[in-house]
């Protein structure tokens, strides 16, 4: 089946971020298709290139990146939610006149249309709350 996940939880702030990553691994291991992961609300922080948790805490950003490489996942971060929360790509930083960019590799910024498209083309939609 084709799944889309919507993630509202920030890593290290709400357990939903870790639950979503575990769920994604399980569904891929079961042979299902992960059509898209859409990071919305505080979930945009899952795509931070600057996160540096202590060595003995799990690194959720790196977890998504590894899964993305392995399965060519479509990891989409809502651009409007990201701007409000200080998560910018290099081109967005330049356009907005901000001093740096912090979007991690493997993620892309896009509009809410990508959420709508994912809802329409997936068999299942699972939301991970904040």
């Amino acid at each position: 089946m084709k799944f889309t996940l919507v993630i509202f939880s920030a890593p290290h702030s709400a357990e939903g971020a870790a639950s979503a990553l575990r769920f994604a691994r399980a569904l891929l291991a079961s042979g299902h298709n992960l059509y898209r992961v859409f990071f919305y609300g505080d979930g945009v922080h899952n795509a931070s290139a600057l996160e540096a948790p202590p060595q003995d805490e799990s690194h959720i950003v790196a977890g998504w990146q590894a899964l993305q490489q392995q399965h060519q996942l479509d990891l989409v971060v809502c651009i409007a939610a990201a701007q409000r929360r200080g998560l910018l790509s290099a081109s967005e930083a330049e356009r907005l006149g901000k001093p740096a960019a912090n979007l991690a590799a493997g993620f892309e910024l896009a509009g809410l249309g990508q959420l709508v498209d994912a809802v329409v083309y997936s068999d299942r939609l699972v939301t991970f709350g904040d």
Partner: protein, 120 residues
């Protein structure tokens, strides 16, 4: 491809970002001609209250987003009757120009009829 989509709106308007960002997603879907059905439940019914003056806390009113729904052809909202009664509210306090409100007595059966549910 046509799918029935429900947007479940359960948060009050200004305490956190969920109500506003939920409505932004609904408007985006409606603009792509995939208008979801909106069901307001629990504290989500407070999004509809008239006479919100969010300037007093330096925010924008969510009523603006709600009023934009009719531009995109959404002319009816669903509201959980029990949630309304529990908060001593009536439909007259929620009126939106050009948009009808229908009360839902059995939200469980209502929700189960959709292909996809977005929770906000």
């Amino acid at each position: 491809m046509s799918k029935s989509i429900l947007a479940l709106c359960r948060r009050p308007p200004y305490g956190d970002a969920l109500a506003r960002e939920g409505l932004e997603a609904v408007l985006a879907a409606a603009a792509m001609e995939q208008a979801p059905v909106l069901l307001f439940m629990h504290d989500g019914v407070f999004q509809l209250l008239k006479d919100q003056n969010a300037k007093s806390i330096e925010q924008k009113s969510v009523r603006r987003n709600l009023e934009a729904l009719s531009i995109f052809g959404i002319d009816k909202l669903y509201v959980c009757q029990h949630s309304l009664e529990k908060r001593n509210l009536n439909c007259g306090q929620l009126r939106l120009p050009g948009i009808a409100i229908e009360l839902i007595a059995d939200p469980g059966r209502f929700i189960a009829a959709f292909d996809s549910v977005l929770s906000f």
